[in-house]
């Protein structure tokens, strides 16, 4: 298939036209944005929704009586309901907590649910391919409560090594795993792992940062207990994230941060926390960001998440094939080479060229990739790497992006070779 040709009913050209930042030129060339794994670009509709909110409807949410205050509350809560529908939350909006980002979601999970439900003798089982956001909060919890943090290893095939899973699951109260590695692109079999974890009485948390926005995510079908994700990795704005959990679990959780909005009552003697999701959302919440996230959800629903997944799978397959054909091993992919259980994040190790130099040369071609450890240092150590240069796709990416990437990589190899 010729580069640039589209395969599905999904029209990447139309999506690109909806992204204003794709009109940018960098160093005299059109931008080639391949850093959606770090943060996606926003659509006109997301940006406009936030602008319109600030222009006409801004007020603080909850407890307002006047019209714009009611409108702001409706907009904020409407976003919560839209997010709940998007991930098929069984308890709808009463299960969606807005946070700052995936990192805050995991901190809420560890510092509230973890601190009350886990102690010495209990185990949190995570994996060697986690982002620091799903590692460090558990280490902090370990310091506070003596809980054990255990890792499922990653095999040479860049996938979880489940050989000793039965043993690893001993005393596990929470299995907390990424749905897709932000370094390798490996997708984990969340549904199967959740079923196994449930069979030993553990709850299951999933890092959805690289999943939601790249394909269908249905928490009911996955049969998980917690899902954490970020708005800005799914075409939405920065500053808003989500922790979804079952209502039955949420009702057992105490408050997170203290302050306004999270209380039912405060006296000179103490306070009573609010019921429902409000008790996790102290202070004025990210209202405009929620409005933006709602617009992003609407946009993604319009595209159809099955179509987005198929488009990104096609781009990934095309890129893996052409990287292999063009460079004959001089550019090594750190991750699975097939597209089964694999997403559109491609980490590269370029022969003789440090990832920072790769990214610097690519910038000259207008290509945006990320060099570094990608906040997954245990995984990098596992493969004896200090850093990789990572290209990652979004719904607006196309095969022409890969063509420019290959051209720029060729230049980097020539320059340093």
């Amino acid at each position: 298939m010729a580069p640039g040709q589209r395969v599905s009913s999904f029209n990447a050209r139309r999506v690109r036209a909806d992204i204003p930042q794709l009109t940018r030129r960098i160093n005299g060339r059109p931008i080639t944005y391949l850093d959606s794994g770090a943060s996606s670009l926003q659509t006109h509709s997301v940006i406009d929704a936030m602008s319109r909110y600030y222009e006409l409807r801004h007020a603080n949410v909850h407890r307002g009586v006047y019209q714009t205050a009611n409108e702001a509350t409706d907009a904020y809560e409407g976003s919560r309901a839209a997010v709940a529908r998007f991930i098929n939350a069984p308890g709808e909006e009463s299960e969606v907590v807005f946070t700052k980002n995936t990192t805050e979601s995991f901190n809420l999970l560890a510092k509230v649910w973890g601190a009350t439900n886990l102690g010495a003798g209990d185990v949190v089982l995570i994996t060697q391919m986690e982002h620091h956001a799903n590692i460090v909060p558990w280490f902090q919890l370990r310091e506070a409560t003596g809980v054990e943090v255990r890792f499922i290893p990653v095999g040479d095939d860049y996938r979880l090594d489940l050989t000793n899973l039965d043993e690893l699951l001993r005393d596990v109260k929470l299995l907390s795993i990424t749905g897709m590695s932000n370094v390798l692109g490996t997708k984990n079999r969340v549904h199967d792992l959740a079923a196994i974890a449930h069979s030993v009485g553990a709850l299951v948390a999933v890092d959805g940062a690289q999943m939601v926005g790249h394909g269908p995510v249905d928490v009911t079908a996955l049969d998980i207990d917690f899902l954490a994700f970020s708005g800005h990795k799914m075409l939405g704005p920065t500053g808003i994230g989500v922790l979804w959990t079952r209502e039955s679990v949420l009702d057992t959780m105490g408050p997170f941060m203290g302050g306004g909005g999270m209380i039912a009552d405060v006296t000179l003697d103490g306070f009573t926390p609010a019921k429902g999701v409000a008790r996790f959302e102290a202070g004025t919440p990210p209202i405009a960001e929620a409005v933006g996230l709602h617009a992003a959800v609407r946009y993604l629903e319009g595209l159809g998440m099955d179509h987005v997944a198929a488009h990104e799978r096609y781009l990934t397959e095309d890129a893996l094939r052409r990287l292999d054909l063009t460079f004959d091993g001089r550019v090594r992919v750190i991750g699975p080479l097939d597209v089964i259980d694999r997403g559109g994040v491609i980490s590269l190790d370029v022969e003789g060229v440090h990832p920072h130099d790769v990214a610097q040369v690519l910038d000259q071609f207008g290509v945006c990739v990320r060099p570094g450890h990608h906040c997954a240092k245990p995984l990098m150590r596992r493969f004896n790497l200090a850093a990789t240069a990572r290209a990652s796709f979004g719904p607006y990416s196309n095969t022409a992006d890969t063509t420019v990437l290959l051209e720029a990589l060729e230049h980097a190899l020539k320059m340093f070779g």
């Binding site: 440090h354 920072h356 130099d357 610097q360 570094g372 450890h373 200090a386 850093a387 320059m415 340093f416």
Partner: protein
Amino acid sequence: MSNLEDLYREIILDHYRSPRNRGELASPPAHRVEGFNPLCGDEVTVYLDVNDGVLTDIKLTGHGCSISQSSSSLMSTAVKGKPLEDVRATIEAFKELMTAHETTTDEEERDATNLRTFGELAALAGVVKFPVRIKCATLAWNTLQQGLQELAS
């Protein structure tokens, strides 16, 4: 307009491909000091032999990008065998070079004169146009400076 050739001068690529004074010195007697750049994972270890106020030998190990590694190599050739006061002056001058801002034509002329005193090190002057890479270029120098401070105390 900064372009890649300002950054990746031939001298830099040469020192990256064939780093000078690469290796270790027995420690002790040599003084060993490590430097890290936690953001990008660059690492450098500097070994110093100081005798009678002279940096008689220097070796470096480490890994990182072409800028950090070539800067280490260029630094070693610039300071090896020099009296410590000259070494300190070179460190200061190099760090000053790495903090230069936008310059006018007059200043450029003056800087060009100054750059001549840097010899091969002048090849790193282009780094300043790529602000995120300055920390790559200064890593070895800060590590050397720290080592000298430790020796003095």
